[in-house]
C-alpha cells in the first residue's frame, strides 16, 4: 500500500461533485479542501463542471427520491474507468434522515460506490484521503485494462 502511494501519478484526477440532498455541510468542506489551507489542487485534483470529463464522482447527501434518476444519469455519463466516492454519513447509510418519506436510501442502492468517507461532515483531510484511496483504485482498474 505504502509503496503504491509513492509512485508518481499517471494522471490528475478530475472530480465531479453532486449534491443529492445534502445539508451543505459536506459541500462546504469539499470547497474548503480546494482552497488554500488544504489545497487539493497540489495533488492534481480538480473539480470539473460536467460528469463527461470526470474520473471521480463525489456524492454528498442522502438520496432524495426526486434525485434518484438524476444520479443514475450522471453516473452513466461518466467515462470508464470511474470511481464513486460518497462523502458524509447520510450518503453512506441514510444518516439522520434514514426514515423520511422522501429519502430513497443510501447512494449504494442505486449506483456502485467505491469509497465511503464517514463523518458529519468529514474534515477536509478525510475527504482528501478518500480521493487518494479512489486514485489507488483507479490505477488498479486502469492496470487491468
Amino acid at each position: 500500500m505504502k509503496k503504491q502511494q509513492l509512485e508518481t501519478l499517471k494522471k490528475s484526477l478530475w472530480v465531479f461533485h453532486m449534491n443529492t440532498g445534502s445539508c451543505n455541510g459536506c459541500d462546504i468542506e469539499i470547497v474548503a479542501a480546494l482552497t488554500p489551507r488544504y489545497d487539493i489542487e497540489r495533488f492534481g485534483m480538480m473539480l470539473v463542471g460536467t460528469p463527461r470529463h470526470a474520473d471521480v464522482l463525489l456524492i454528498t447527501g442522502p438520496l432524495i427520491k426526486k434525485m434518484e434518476d438524476k444520479v443514475k444519469r450522471v453516473y452513466e455519463q461518466m467515462p470508464e474507468p470511474k470511481v464513486v466516492i460518497v462523502v458524509g454519513n447520510c450518503g453512506s447509510t441514510g444518516g439522520v434522515f434514514h426514515e423520511s418519506y422522501s429519502v430513497a436510501g443510501p447512494i449504494d442502492k442505486v449506483i456502485p460506490v467505491d469509497v465511503y468517507v464517514p463523518g458529519c461532515p468529514p474534515r477536509p483531510e478525510a475527504i482528501i484521503n478518500g480521493v487518494a484511496k479512489a486514485w489507488l483504485k483507479l490505477e488498479r482498474l486502469e492496470g487491468k485494462k
Binding site: 441514510g94 418519506y101 422522501s102
Partner: protein, 172 residues
Amino acid sequence: MKRLTPEEIVEYFNDKLKENIKDTKIERKTAGKKKNEFCTVWLKVDKSVFKDAVRELCGIDFPHFAVASGSDMGDYIELMYHFSVYYGERLKEISITISVDLPKTDLRIDSICDIIPGALISEREIQEMLGIKVEGIPDNRRIFLPEDFPEGVYPWRKDEKGPQNLVRDMYE
C-alpha cells in the same frame, strides 16, 4: 397611527371582529441580563373572518409574514399564520399569530396573496402538505414534493392520509 401595546392589539381585534375572535392570549418572556421582554400575541379567529383579520392587521402596521404552520388535531386542522409587526425599531417588535380551525369536512381557506404577495410559497406548501384547498391562489402547483408524489398523501397529516406507506424500512 399610534403604536399599540399587546393589550391594545387584542382590544383592537375584539373591537373590529367582535365574537368572531374565539380566543386570545398574550405571552411575555424575558431574556438576557437586563430582562428586556418580548411579546407574542395569539389570536384564534373564526374561519369566516380569517381574511378580514389579516386585513385588520395591515391596519395596524404592514406585517411581516413569516410562515404558516398546520397541525392535524383529529377532526379538524389548526392552521397558524405567524406574523410580526412594529419591526424597524429597537425591541419594539411584537409577534402575532393568527390561528384558524378548519374542519376536515371542509378544508378550504382564502388566499391572502392579494394582501401579502410573499405568502405564496407558504400557501403552496400547506396545499400539498395538508391537503387544504387555498381559494384564489395565484399559482396552484406543488412546490416541495415531486410531481410523481402520490395523490391524496399529505405528509403533515396524522390520519390515514399521512405518508406512513412511503417510509423506507431501514432493515430491508
